[in-house]
């Protein structure tokens, strides 16, 4: 186990609605998310003295959020990055709290991911005008190979060839995450879908269809981390951080495509650190959030983090294994495929709520931890949820992760 296992806790979570469009600034949305997370934890602005965020040149800063909310911070830093950032910043935060740089830290992401800068690269009005191909993009953009779907599609295609997996396995993931979204009042896409719906959806870039791709939404989402001793005095059952990894790289990470296997992803290099630090095995995990920028990213991470063998994920996901009440429920909020897109924070938030036994679903008593487990009635609380693995993804060659433990079940 890690020296700091269970010593720090996630004590507050909050987010804005997923909007399309928000008609708001990233600063305004971030203030709302941080306020909600503080209220959730039972913290006042004066109790928070650390703040960190990540962005891609598309967001506000900790400086502006703290100023707007009347906080004086002892530590703040904003980093560059996308999907591999949430769990990496949890790791940073543990180190900072342990070293005494601050006592209670906010982690947030705020993005107009649909109405502002779209990660898919497409402007709201259609294909984008003249574009600058600089740095690595010199060797991708001129060949019309730019968006995440186009980049990850290359690895997905080779994976299908090497393993014999078909796109029906990708469909299983889309169906599972959408089913969970149907139980989440906050989710953008709530109509359940079938394997056939996936197979009949239009191509975006072969081998990926529309229903293989995540949503793009305007949203801010926030986590608050503090020490175990402080957590005991706060409003919610604490969720303990057992271990994690931060932006673990595969070899040759800046050019995935010359690696021997372009679908042997970074999680393979983080797996033993993650489970070793947490002191548990995959069998101990009750639920996961498995980064679903695309169905394929979820699929490949199941192998990378050892939930199934190499090349076996296509079979593993069949029969609803990733759905609630089955062996390994994944992305209980609906994930980025169906709830909305936050570059990872919302997946950790959902796991925190599940581990508190307080999934915000249709059960009248959810806020007190009373659930019916009746899926027809809209309950999405995983029964006896104790341990959740957060499996982040940045690219094939970069990923972050965390294992969380609750005490409410």
């Amino acid at each position: 186990m890690g020296a700091l296992t269970d010593k720090y806790c996630i004590v507050g979570v909050g987010e804005t609605p997923h909007m399309r469009p928000s008609n708001r600034t990233t600063l305004s949305m971030a203030c709302e998310a941080v306020k909600k997370a503080m209220a959730d934890a039972g913290l006042e602005p004066r109790d928070v003295d650390g703040m960190t965020s990540y962005q891609a040149g598309d967001s506000t800063t900790s400086n502006h959020v703290a100023t707007s909310l009347g906080m004086r911070l002892n530590y703040s830093v904003d980093i560059f990055g996308g999907g591999s950032s949430t769990e990496a910043l949890i790791g940073n935060t543990i180190g900072l709290l342990e070293a005494g740089y601050c006592k209670t830290m906010v982690i947030f992401r705020s993005m107009n991911g649909r109405s502002g800068r779209r990660m898919g690269g497409q402007a709201p009005s259609g294909p984008v005008p003249p574009t600058r191909a600089a740095e690595d993009n010199q060797f991708m953009m001129p060949w019309g190979w730019t968006s995440p779907a186009q980049r990850f599609g290359m690895s997905a295609m080779r994976y299908l060839r090497d393993t014999g997996t078909t796109t029906k396995s990708l469909a299983e993931i889309a169906v599972a995450h959408r089913y969970h979204a149907s139980l989440n009042p906050k989710a953008v896409m709530r109509h359940p879908i079938t394997i056939d719906d996936h197979q009949n959806s239009r191509w975006v870039v072969k081998p990926l269809r529309l229903l293989d791709c995540c949503l793009e939404t305007d949203v801010s989402a926030c986590l608050i981390v503090t020490s175990r001793e402080r957590a005991y005095d706060l409003r919610q059952p604490p969720v303990f951080i057992m271990g994690g990894t931060g932006r673990t790289m595969a070899p040759n990470s800046a050019w995935n495509y010359s690696r021997p296997e372009i679908h042997y992803v970074a999680g393979n290099y983080g797996r033993n650190r993650l489970f070793g630090m947490a002191g548990i095995s995959q069998k101990d995990v009750n639920l996961i959030s498995c980064y679903d920028a695309f169905t394929f990213t979820t699929l490949i991470q199941l192998e990378a983090y050892g939930f199934c063998g190499k090349g076996e994920a296509g079979e593993f996901v069949k029969g609803g294994r990733l759905q609630i009440d089955h062996e390994l429920p994944s992305n209980l909020s609906g994930g980025h495929l169906s709830e909305g897109y936050t570059h990872g924070v919302s997946m950790v938030i959902e796991n925190v709520r599940q581990l508190r036994h307080r999934a915000d679903d249709a059960c009248p008593g959810w806020a007190e931890g009373t659930h019916s487990y009746d899926r027809q009635a809209g309950c999405r609380q995983v029964k006896d949820a104790r341990i959740a693995a957060c499996l982040g993804w940045g690219t094939e060659t970069m990923s972050s992760s965390a294992i969380l433990r609750g005490i409410a079940a």
Binding site: G120, G121, Q122, P127, V128, P129, P130, T131, R132, A133, A134, E135, D136, Q138, F139, M140, M141, P142, W143, G144, W145, T146, S147, Q150, G153, M154, S155, M157, R158, L160, R161, T167, R202, W203, V204, V205, K206, P207, N252, A254, W255, Y257, S258, P260, I262
Partner: protein
């Protein structure tokens, strides 16, 4: 063959590490970086050898031939330059003459001149150079150059 690509809608911006590569394409050379000290080859042209850390580097002129390792078929254009080109195939090409004893190799991307129906993983490909409407920019394209056993095609 895919429709025309409007390169005027992309501003290719070479930097100090890459400008010689783009000059190479003007002479119809497909270059990769090579270490003068240990002979290692790589691409894109990062400025140090990741085997021996030498920064004393050369360029290796490849034969411009390889094997298709993977591909995608873009049906929805993202860049303005490719609006007329869809559907087009981007190939990932494993270069023939960059294999090293320890298994390291070089793969590069490029737009195929062939249509989706003719493309399969495992087929041999060769480079062709396309003059763009920007006088200084010549872009490599790739085309199927033969047949092979054990090819694989994506089927819906």
């Amino acid at each position: 063959m895919p429709g025309p690509i409007d390169y005027s809608k992309i501003t290719i911006t070479p930097d100090f590490d890459t400008v010689e590569w783009w000059m190479g394409t003007k002479e119809h050379k497909y270059l990769v970086r090579q270490c003068k000290d240990c002979g290692h080859k790589w691409f894109p042209p990062f400025p140090a050898c990741n085997k021996c850390n030498s920064m004393d580097l050369d360029w290796f002129e490849t034969a411009g031939t390889g094997v298709l390792h993977s591909y995608i078929v873009v049906t929805q254009p993202i860049l303005g330059a490719f609006v007329e080109a869809v559907p087009y195939v981007v190939g990932l090409i494993e270069l023939d003459d960059c294999h090293e004893a320890d298994g390291s190799l070089v793969r590069v991307g490029g737009v195929m001149l062939d249509d989706e129906e003719d493309v399969a993983i495992g087929l041999p490909v060769t480079v062709e150079f396309e003059q763009t409407n920007e006088a200084n920019i010549v872009v490599p394209r790739w085309k199927i150059s033969g047949t092979a056993d054990n090819t694989w095609k994506f089927s819906e």
